[in-house]
Amino acid sequence: MEPISHEFKARSRQSLDDPVLQSALKNLATGFVDSRRKCAEALPEFEALRDLGTEICDHALANLDFYLRRYEEQVTASGGHVHWASTSHDACRIATDICRRANAKKIIRGKSMIGEEVGINDALEEAGFETVETDLGEYILQLAKEPPSHIVAPAIHKSKDEISDLFQKHHAAHGLTERQTERRALVQEARQVLRQAFVSADVGITGANFLIADTGSNIIVTNEGNGDLTCTLPRVHIVTAAIDKVIPSVEDAMVLLRLLGRSATGQEITAYTTFTTGPKRDNDSDGPEEYHVILVDNGRSTMLGNEFREMLRCIRCGACMNHCPVYGSIGGHAYGWVYPGPMGSVLTPMMAGLDKAIDLPNACTLNGRCQEVCPVRIPLPKLLRVHRTRQYEQRIGSGVFRFGLGIWAFFAAHPAVYHFGTRVIMAVMGALGRRKGVFRRMPLAGGWTQARDLPAPQGKTFQAAWRERQREKE
């Protein structure tokens, strides 16, 4: 999809007024956040595993040239093919070519963020293929023609009623005309419809949670089992994965898997963790005849060489957005591209352009919760500040904002002027606000006082009060 991150402010306002979304976000704050905490507390080794996981990712990135080559060798040795894509466009072209060569008609997909990033569905449909998303959340969004709003729970913003309507409208073609209202019945109906897609598809496309250099395997982690059917039943299996997904060995993968489920949904392990290596073997009674991997760069080799390398440790668990107060208020669609929340605010400006996503690095309170819960300890607030600095240096953003920042910089750089100014302001505000104790309105802070009152200061600055206290102590 085309990034629309420049609409961030308008879309945020819409999100705040969307009751369905707001109730879903409230559930998220209790659901994923609580289960993650419980799961982390139940494992005494969790913090040590986070350190080790961080080390493993750093090691893999620092030696990515070696591991990419080893991975390619091993995939080839197991009978698979590796394709390299510098850009989204290349990745789509390669996937389309594979499907054409295979004389495919119907293509099924297992949920993958890289697929969303490169826009693989649109490309395949433009080329005349029929594509069906098989992850229930992604399937719902495909029917609704909407992008995901969370990287783990893509349809989190959809209510059961909306899903009932969508199924009734689209499943009539399958002879299912009754409007289902129970969750169980909806899941059952989707199972029935998608089962047909599974058995009739020619090509299955999945992502990969990890790629293993030592064995040439890819790992996919699901709870539904859709990924497994996608890579088992069709005669061609295509894996789309970013180059930073390569890790050295199965042992390394197990460390990261112990972090992934716990951080994402608070599960020790998901229902299905699957290692796939090459096409079916000679005597196997099922599995695909062809196995292809499309390795996508799309700006990652640039990030590897600059201050954003640490972002490439990301294992896409979604913990940062689950714990983000900004995401928790506006949901994923406001961010305007496939990656929302803190990780998205770091990635989107890198991939879509810093000038196309001006608001994202600034839509952050720098409270640091994302970094606190990130399983591979990515310093997300620091990386967001790097974007802010770059925006300022490249003169991106509104003139008013830069002007205000300039004024602030002047005061910050002249302490005497700053102290004098704040003393005057505090004294005036203290005197004006003495009677009510609060200000209902404040010039230049209308947005802030719209939802709350500003407490009146006591008349002295913090520094002055501090000095007095120190003197009293002596």
């Binding site: 879903a24 559930n27 659901g31 494992l43 005494p44 080794e45 080790l52 090691h59 990515l64 040239d65 990419l68 080559r69 080893r70 390299w84 510098s86 098989t134 229930l136 719902i140 729970a153 893509p154 349809a155 989190i156 059961k160 899903i163 969750r183 899941v187 989707a190 998608l194 089962r195 599974f198 709870n223 539904e224 089992g225 497994d228 059917l229 088992t232 039943l233 060995s249 197990m254 460390v255 949904t265 020790e268 392990i269 998901t270 229902a271 299905y272 963790t273 290692f275 796939t276 290596t277 079916k280 073997r281 005597n283 196997d284 009674s285 099922d286 599995g287 080799s301 640039t302 060489g305």
Partner: protein, 223 residues
């Protein structure tokens, strides 16, 4: 014209500050592949068999513990009766399953599962005590479709097949020929989804029920 592969590898090399990998570094990295230096694995104090069972039950799998091979039939019958399932199963063409007598009234097809099979029976390569996971591998004896297509999946695992950690489970799934199988599944509970209003439902695409028969345990803990 250089290929996309060479371009990407050149950019990666530039980003990490080397055009080529010197032989010494390469040897070091190859050695690391064989041995991860720092091992941290979850530890536990509770009884391993009880832990395995309780981990599985915690994710809504049913577990029967039986003493002998002959007892497997009883567990299969009870599971089928309790859930009102048809008396027909697809059973993996795996000779390790031959020793288990099954109920006489059960129609048994020794083949891969098809889309409308209701129940399958397979043999696990291992059970992982750490997580309660069953390890299954693809091959002529164990088609992967059996683990996902039917609504009910019965997995038989022997007590001596229980191993401590996920890493051990992976090793058990390897063939002697040193060749990685096409598919290794770690299965921990039935298929589920929370994609509708963050509420759990079972049987999204894979089995609605996972029934594990643990054979050979001396003491059958209370259910």
């Amino acid at each position: 014209m250089t290929s996309a592969r060479d371009e990407i590898l050149a950019r990666v090399g530039k980003a990490i500050g080397r055009e080529e990998i010197d032989p010494e570094t390469e040897a070091c990295l190859a050695k690391r592949l064989r041995h991860l230096p720092d091992q941290i694995r979850p530890q536990w104090g509770d009884d391993p068999i009880e832990r395995f069972i309780s981990k599985l039950r915690a994710v809504a799998a049913t577990v029967d513990v039986v003493e002998t091979d002959a007892d497997v039939a009883t567990s299969v019958s009870a599971f089928i009766q309790k859930n009102d399932m048809p008396l027909a199963v697809a059973m993996a063409p795996d000779s390790r399953l031959d020793c288990f007598p099954l109920p006489d009234d059960l129609k048994i097809s020794r083949r891969n599962a098809v889309a409308d099979d209701v129940t399958s029976i397979t043999a696990a390569e291992a059970g992982v005590i750490e997580t309660g996971s069953l390890v299954l591998r693809s091959g002529p004896k164990g088609p992967t479709g059996m683990n996902f297509l039917p609504e009910n999946h019965i997995v038989i695992v022997r007590q001596e097949q229980l191993v401590n950690h996920l890493e051990d489970g992976w090793r058990c799934a390897q063939e002697t020929s040193n060749r990685v199988p096409r598919t290794v599944n770690f299965i921990t509970g039935p298929s589920k989804t929370a994609d509708i209003e963050q509420t759990l439902e079972y049987g999204a695409h894979g089995p609605k029920r996972l029934h594990v028969i643990l054979v050979g345990a001396q003491k059958a803990p209370d259910r």
